[in-house]
Symmetry: C2
């Protein structure tokens, strides 16, 4: 089944203890698409400026990603700059320039509207709602962040009513519900709409709450993390790509989807930006999936 993602396309300047990557390809929709395209046809909906390098478009196209929904408008592409600490769980945002993203209103071309699976990337919840006014696919997942939770809570609550799965950072469960306990927090979010909650815990893996059942997935302990930027979006892409491929959201499929998300996210961390992610194929995925089996079996 096909899959649509709506979200940011960016040029990221990233510093980590391993080095610096100047104006590299970035943005949630990019990491998501590159991950999901390994599993299923993907439609990317987003916006770039006239300065967006043709080689980035070429990379996405070569991966088979449908770019009919990638608008190109007069102006500069969204830019983000950040610096990671020695402890890679901590980072400072140095600069954010919304540029053409500031006036973005998602417009879904036909293929994007007809996709059975939809991922609403981390953008203003009113824009997420605009997407749902254009399409009602069979399965909708959503990402958000503390900015929207705090500044546009009513809009977010409104869109959450229509959502099947919420994929967020574990700390955002607290921001959204006031619950420090993830089990109670997930239950509280389920009352708001989504039956599936996947709190991402970074290097500690990911939990999955489906109705009253739980799954705990490990992250792969990595000796060298070069750049964790986009790992969460990559996770979402592997997760959604896998369930769209299987066209199933039963609990066992969702468990394996979390592992696939973790598999592709681990590759993202190996090089700057989506460089490593763009290189991998199904063999790499199968190999690392086997590493996860070995890591978690008992």
């Amino acid at each position: 089944m096909s899959l649509t993602v709506v979200g940011s396309v960016a040029l990221d300047t990233v510093e980590t203890p391993s080095g610096r990557n100047e104006e590299g390809l970035g943005g949630a929709a990019v990491f998501f698409s590159l991950a999901a395209a390994n599993y299923t046809p993907v439609n990317l909906v987003g916006v770039v400026g006239t300065d967006f390098p043709a080689r980035h478009v070429e990379l996405l196209r070569k991966k088979g990603i449908n770019l009919d929904g990638l608008e190109r408008v007069e102006g500069r592409t969204f830019r983000w700059a950040g610096r990671y600490h020695e402890d890679l769980n901590q980072r400072d945002t140095l600069d954010t320039q919304l540029n053409v993203f500031e006036h973005f209103h998602p417009k879904l071309p036909q293929a994007a509207r007809e996709a059975e699976y939809l991922f609403l990337g981390n953008i203003h919840p009113a824009l997420q709602m605009e997407v749902l006014e254009q399409t009602r696919p069979k399965f909708i997942a959503l990402d958000t962040m503390n900015l929207w939770i705090n500044a546009t809570r009513d809009d977010l609550v409104k869109v959450l009513k229509h959502v099947d799965a919420l994929i967020i950072n574990d700390s955002e469960v607290y921001d959204l519900t006031g619950e420090r306990n993830l089990v109670r927090g997930a239950r509280a979010i389920q009352e708001m709409g989504p039956r599936i909650i996947a709190p991402k815990k970074g290097e500690h893996g990911c939990l999955l709450f489906v109705e009253d059942r739980m799954f705990s997935a490990p992250a792969l302990p990595m000796e060298h993390v070069i750049d964790p930027t986009g790992a969460g979006d990559t996770f979402a892409g592997g997760f959604m790509g896998y369930i769209a491929q299987k066209d199933s959201t039963d609990f066992d499929t969702l468990r394996r989807a979390v592992i696939h998300g973790s598999v592709v996210a681990s590759y993202t961390c190996e090089k700057f930006g989506p460089e490593r992610l763009a290189e991998i194929d199904l063999n790499d995925i199968a190999q690392r999936y086997a590493d996860f089996v070995e890591l978690a079996r008992f």
Copy 2:
């Protein structure tokens, strides 16, 4: 096979968001013994004062724990008081009174010396070394803390040379090695002696490094944690108890030992002190082990 633990026996005053427990039974050797006694005969080596309540001795004896090595000396028992934050990963120590523990020198009775498995609880590394001068069992595990790592590093490094397994908090891997990355940190500790490193990550579970292999165990997401005091010592007790029962330290046994440690630790968190831990039997352990299988399978 039988198992000896050397460590603290205490009276703990604990405040958590769920309530307060005044001068309850505590201490690493107590949690460890109560957990391990489900699996194998346990010898407890420690010290209490003349004020140590008889009902606590009775509780340990009823669990079949050999108390020949529990000295009773003139004076007051070791006391610890702490308060947990709403976020139960954070706690403040309010009071520490070493009392009779200050002049403790472990003396192992015959059964304790003859045990094949030994756990050196979190005490001054010079005292841990005194234990090794009395016995050389086939398998030795050790716990420590940032205080000893920083204040008595040379003593600790000396004792680590003789140790098979190090069971510590993940943050202490950094304290000990200067490595923020757990994989590189574990490798650095292996250079110091132990071939097995188990960094405990609290609510995020536990990693296990055995030579060049890794295992990641989840923690059970719990809706209500009443008191996490002693969970780490309980984990060590379940881990060591299981491998002593199986008399094996092959990788598959060690994996399952980590899960057993996590199983008993989850029970400890359900009530104050070791109250819940003292109630459980092999049926409870088997039931929760099945919960862990369901939690982690994919």
